[in-house]
């Protein structure tokens, strides 16, 4: 992420390809500046908790534990209660004005849209260190 230029191409790709949205926030990965552009950028995304507190907080099993970390999302089961949002310890779930929630499903579609090669898609076992 040190090389991130803040172009938002990853977020726009996730919104477009996964959620059929035109948005820089309705996405599983969101880019924020860390105190103005001078301080660089950070990617707000699911860090694949296991067990995932958001899945535990979900009353309808719209979020369920994903093998290897993170959650499997079944949108049809979501009642838009928003309980998952505060449950996430790293603020990785976004809730829009219509109370739809968006989280990374670890599909890797954003990786090909990072022009700076900031993003990698790897099995958890093969990752030496999770970088932010």
């Amino acid at each position: 992420m040190d090389q991130c230029t803040g172009c938002h191409s990853c977020s726009l790709a996730c919104a477009r390809l996964i959620h059929k949205k035109l948005s820089w926030t309705c996405a599983g990965i969101r880019i924020e500046s860390s105190g103005g552009i001078s301080s660089g950028f950070r990617a707000i995304r699911c860090l694949a908790c296991d067990p995932a507190p958001c899945a535990e907080a979900c009353p309808t099993s719209a979020y369920s534990q994903r093998k290897g970390g993170g959650v499997v999302v079944r949108k049809k089961l979501c009642i838009r209660c928003g309980a998952c949002v505060p449950a996430c310890p790293v603020d990785a779930i976004y809730e829009n004005a219509r109370r739809e929630v968006f989280v990374c499903i670890h599909c890797g579609r954003c990786v090909g849209f990072c022009p700076q090669n900031c993003l990698d898609y790897e099995e958890m076992d093969s990752i030496e260190e999770v970088l932010l």
Partner: protein
């Protein structure tokens, strides 16, 4: 989600009331430049001064903003304090996508706030806050404070603000956009300052369903094209500063107030030198994978031993020309120091640097003394320029106040008009030849990007007046179309008319896709009509003597050729001086917000 109708926020600072206005005319006015011209026609007062309360300050995006890569800029339109005529300035950062996701095609701000204010706009809110405590605060500190005061949507908002030059009414005051981008030229910052508007915060806090059909496929194709072509190399790697060395070799880089066009000292300020010594990292406008913003750094020693802090400054070809070669400065860190000083007071770097270059030569010739300049100005002496930039931005005495209104205005008072490097406004960094001098002098924005004249100069040696002016006239509508979309002009090789038509089809605007050529012509004419209505007269344009003394790779400037180009281009532009037909088929529908 991109509608045939324009959705516009009109906010009046005097009454502190906003109104959402829907306007027809997508196929004719497109967005960006076209929409801004329409809005000035509807809201502007052509015959009244730029600083009348009712004059509009306009921001406009295009139908493809946020939908495709490099569709990432905003047109800012206003009556300029520089020449009291209609003009545009273009900026990037996050502003374009923030407007898209706030659901606005344009923002029109009229009136004057009674106290210094910040206007915060989002999809579901409008708030005008008193920020009187920010008076006199520089653009960078203001940005820090605004980030704290309007904390929501970090990373997904845009912060436009002015420093002291905007508050002081300088005709060279720019608007800082998200720290490293600007609405640079023609004094947009003074328009905000005159409206008592210190900042505009635009929150892109809504989302939309994406167009159905081929849109994702087409996006991927264009994304691949812009990231796989040499565009990444050209604009990301060294960026525009890569042009410094070749232009110096072509004897086309202005040095020391254009007293020469080449210097062996170039090796200290090339794109390579900046990248090797000063580059911290790159940044991008939102929605642009290219990432052309180059951020350099310099270290500052405090009064105590071994105490340092560092500053980050964006650099590009034009700022390096203006704060570097034009001032005879040949140290990359010193150039960044001067740019930092200009940035803090929010002076346009090009205008400020060129004005100080004139002041230096005026000092050398004894037309002004330290009584006026307050510090000695000498080519190459960055310490003097760092202080002078702050004096110019703040308008600290009569000399700097009048210089901040334009170099020719200062020359009218103190003498030295013959060496004022002004082509409609302070020159851009291209001493490429006769066509560029004529084109910038007369061009719509007096910008090097109005037409490709600097490129024509570098490729042509013939002196065919009609052919050269034909080139300018034929080049303009395509650029106007791009600035109506509003694309970054770096993408002009990708977004041909055919590609734009494909994009518009996929966005659900087939009517506009089918009428692009006519729209480009129509908007070009409309922009000029609006400019003429505000008093433009190409016959009044004067090219100072200094430009006739320039020597480029083609030899001495040909006086007769330059004059014939100026006359012929002016004659062709005058053909646009006809009354604007009323937009009779365009209906307006508004509701209070």
């Amino acid at each position: 989600m991109i509608f045939e109708q324009f959705r516009i926020l009109h906010y009046d600072l005097g009454s502190r009331r906003g109104k959402i206005v829907h306007h027809e005319g997508r196929n004719r006015y497109v967005g960006g430049s076209g929409l801004a011209a329409l809005l000035f026609h509807l809201y502007g007062q052509p015959g009244k001064s730029w600083n009348e309360a009712e004059q509009p300050f306009i921001l406009a995006i295009g139908p493809l903003t946020g939908l495709f890569p490099l569709m990432s800029k905003v047109v800012c339109a206003f009556k300029s304090p520089y020449h009291d005529q209609y003009t545009e300035s273009h900026g990037g950062g996050r502003a374009a996508l923030a407007m898209r996701f706030a659901g606005l095609d344009a923002i029109v701000i009229t009136g004057k706030a009674t106290k210094l204010s910040c206007l915060s706009i989002g999809a579901n809110h409008i708030e005008c806050k008193n920020v009187d405590f920010m008076r006199g605060m520089n653009a960078l500190s203001s940005g820090k404070l605004m980030r704290r005061m309007f904390a929501a949507n970090a990373g997904h908002r845009s912060i436009l603000r002015i420093g002291q030059s905007g508050e002081a009414g300088s005709a060279m005051a720019c608007i800082n956009v998200d720290t490293y981008r600007h609405f640079g030229r023609m004094g947009s910052g003074a328009v905000m300052g005159d409206k008592n508007l210190k900042g505009i915060i635009i929150h892109g806090d809504n989302d939309f369903d994406q167009p159905e059909g081929d849109y994702p496929k087409l996006y991927k194709r264009l994304y691949t094209e812009v990231t796989a072509t040499n565009m990444m190399h050209k604009y990301f790697d060294l960026g525009t500063p890569a042009n410094l060395e070749p232009l110096n070799e072509l004897q086309s880089l202005p040095w020391c107030n254009l007293q020469k066009t080449t210097d062996p000292a170039i090796s200290a300020i090339t794109g390579e030198t900046f990248a090797k010594d000063t580059l911290l990292r790159n940044a991008a406008c939102s929605g642009c994978p290219v990432g052309c913003i180059h951020i350099g750094y310099f270290r500052e020693k405090s009064l105590q031993a071994n105490r340092y802090h560092f500053h980050q400054v964006a650099y590009d070809y034009e700022p390096i020309f203006a704060a570097g070669s034009m001032l005879g400065i040949t140290d990359s860190f010193d150039i960044l120091r001067v740019l930092d000083s200009l940035e803090k007071v929010s002076l346009d770097a090009m205008s400020g640097g060129v004005a100080l270059a004139w002041a230096t030569e005026a000092s050398e010739r004894g037309l002004v003394s330290e009584n006026e300049t307050l510090v000695p100005l000498r080519f190459g002496d960055s310490d003097g320029y760092i202080k002078a930039a702050a004096f110019l931005g703040k308008g600290i005495n009569d000399f700097y106040k009048i210089l901040a209104q334009g170099t020719l205005k200062a020359a009218a008072r103190y003498g030295g008009g013959e060496f004022a490097c002004v082509l409609g406004q302070e020159m851009a960094g291209y001493a490429t030849g006769e066509l560029f001098f004529a084109a910038q002098s007369l061009g719509f924005r007096h910008s090097h990007l109005d037409t490709g004249a600097y490129s024509w100069d570098q490729k042509n040696t013939d002196k065919d007046v009609d052919g050269a002016v034909d080139f300018l006239m034929e080049d303009e509508p395509g650029r106007v179309l791009l600035t109506s979309m509003v694309a970054c002009l770096f993408a002009r090789s990708v977004y041909t008319t055919e590609v734009m038509a494909e994009c518009l089809h996929s966005a659900g605007l087939p009517g506009l896709a089918a009428s692009l050529d006519e729209s480009g012509e129509y908007i070009r004419k409309l922009r000029w009509q609006v400019r003429f209505a505000t008093g433009y007269n190409p016959d009044e344009v004067v090219i100072p003597k200094r430009f006739y003394a320039v020597k480029t790779w083609k030899g001495q400037i040909d006086r007769e050729f330059l004059d014939r180009l100026r006359k012929e281009y002016g004659r062709r532009l005058l053909e646009f001086k006809v009354p604007i037909e009323d937009p009779s088929d365009d209906k307006e529908d508004s509701c209070a917000h």
